[in-house]
């Protein structure tokens, strides 16, 4: 009998059938990445946040190519619903090829800074940026305002949310952007295999979570140190780091990353310290009021969420990593000479084995949820 039990145990170990258990400290770190989804709270800086009429107006604007100057590009040209709200390109193509990769809009409502450089401090301010950028939609405030005023259905919906379309083009643009933000706030990803496992751990139980994913998760919260930045339910600390990705865009031209982002933020009339913030107490502007411009911000880029990361290739701010394996090889072999000598000491070559890379990929794939494609309301607006 003993022999049979030993034989059975040996076979299970050889086949990897015994679930990896986690130490209490590991469980504590794993639990930090939930619960998902977080409770819904409206954005106090946007009076249209959570308003169904604003969501529908924003949805229509999001897919409307007339908002671009030439009338050829909509927000959805670079944020495609069927591609997890990104475009699958290394760098996006607007009126010109831009310098950066289009980030997914899934769960964008939980960000604190927007864009790879955080030049916007609200989702509505971020929604303005591509509309005005000559390399992207090249719309301009007057152009966007004219499109909204000139379309009976859009103008009707605008009135129902904000009142009459204002004569002030900037104010009209901000209204359109706040509706766009209200729509994007609905793009919340669903639950994942990781979430089921994480919640089971919290209850003291377990789920049929893949063995390779367990090993990858142990590395993620342990030796690889990924959770130093990819922490919390959204798998991001919502801040900026230099991970050694080259920031040269072309010969003689660099992407300053966060350093340029803070400068643009502070110069923007659409930041949360300005007149367009609907939050009377301006508690939403705390980060903007206190953010510090530092030399080390050069080459720093926003820490992306890892939810649905398996659906959002290519990776990095410039789309230079084609696959998750390429990202992990970057961390495995990162060039420390590329990092600032006076910068933070966070990144070191992880020297991962092929199996460890496979395990981390297996874990990251368990952060995938069903597609999110909200359905619109076809009913015409009635004044």
């Amino acid at each position: 009998m003993r022999f049979l039990l030993a034989l059975l145990l040996g076979a299970m170990l050889a086949g990897g059938c015994l679930a990896q258990s986690f130490e209490p400290a590991e469980v504590q770190r794993i639990l930090q990445h939930g619960h998902w989804p977080p409770p819904w709270t409206p954005d106090p800086s946007n009076r249209a946040s959570g308003n169904p009429a604003a969501v529908e107006l924003g949805r229509r604007l999001f897919f409307d190519a007339r908002l671009s100057g030439p009338g050829t590009l909509s927000c959805a040209s670079c944020h495609l619903p069927e591609q997890a709200w990104t475009d699958g390109r290394p760098r996006s193509q607007g009126q010109e090829l831009v310098d950066r990769n289009a980030p997914s809009l899934l769960d964008v409502r939980y960000r604190r800074w927007f864009g790879w450089d955080g030049a916007a401090d609200s989702l509505w301010a971020q929604s303005i940026r591509p509309l005005l950028d000559a390399r992207e939609m090249a719309g301009g405030a007057g152009h966007v305002a004219a499109v909204v005023r000139g379309d009976a259905d859009l103008a009707c919906r605008y009135r129902s949310v904000f009142g009459a379309v204002p004569d002030d083009d900037d104010a009209a643009l901000v209204g359109a952007a706040k509706a766009l933000a209200a729509f994007q706030e609905t793009l919340v990803s669903g639950r994942t295999a990781f979430d089921e496992f994480r919640d089971a751990l919290q209850r003291g139980g377990d789920t049929a979570y893949p063995e390779a994913a367990r090993r990858g998760l142990r590395l993620f919260v342990g030796d690889a140190g990924c959770l130093l930045c990819h922490v919390g339910a959204g798998f991001t600390n919502n801040e900026f780091h230099d991970i050694g990705v080259p920031f040269f865009v072309a010969q003689g031209r660099v992407d300053p990353g966060r350093h340029g982002g803070i400068q643009r933020l502070q110069q923007s009339s659409f930041n949360l310290l300005g007149r367009h913030n609907d939050d009377p107490g301006q508690a939403t502007a705390t980060r903007t009021r206190h953010v510090a411009l530092q030399h080390r911000n050069w080459g720093e880029f926003r820490v992306p969420s890892l939810r649905n990361v398996a659906r959002t290739a290519p990776y990095m701010h410039n789309g230079s990593a084609k696959s998750l394996r390429d990202v992990l090889r970057h961390y495995s072999e990162v060039d420390e000479d590329r990092l600032h000598a006076d910068g933070e000491r966070l990144i070191r070559p992880l020297r991962l084995t092929d199996r460890q890379i496979d395990d981390l990929v297996a874990f990251l794939e368990t952060l995938t949820s069903e597609s999110v494609v909200p359905q619109g309301d076809p009913t015409p607006c009635t004044p």
Binding site: L228, H290, V291, A292, R345
Partner: protein, 127 residues
Amino acid sequence: VRLLGALSALIAGSAQACLPGPPADSARRVQSGDAAIEFRPDPAIVVGEPFTLDIRACDGLRLVRVDAEMPEHRHGMNYQPSIRPLGQSRFRAEGLLFHMPGRWQLTFEVKGGDGVPHRLTTDVTLE
């Protein structure tokens, strides 16, 4: 992630250290030589979320700077806190944000009537 707060104040051992009165609920005291302050975070410190510090100093001490860094990572905060005097040696530091788990070293710089600065440091560890 909750504040676990491993305090390691730089205590110089002076028996003459001023004290800012009886400690308030959940306040932590930091002392260096003959200078001392008490501080209390509001809300509790969570990775990635802004918080303020309510600070009470000895009579006559003026809080001139609050900052924090992660010595092992060799970086500070991404934010520059502001200090608001509330009167009666009380201050409010706003705009702090710890963006990573690990050991943070908080520094308070105070000045007395003689203008001599005192640096008081303490550790806060976020799991």
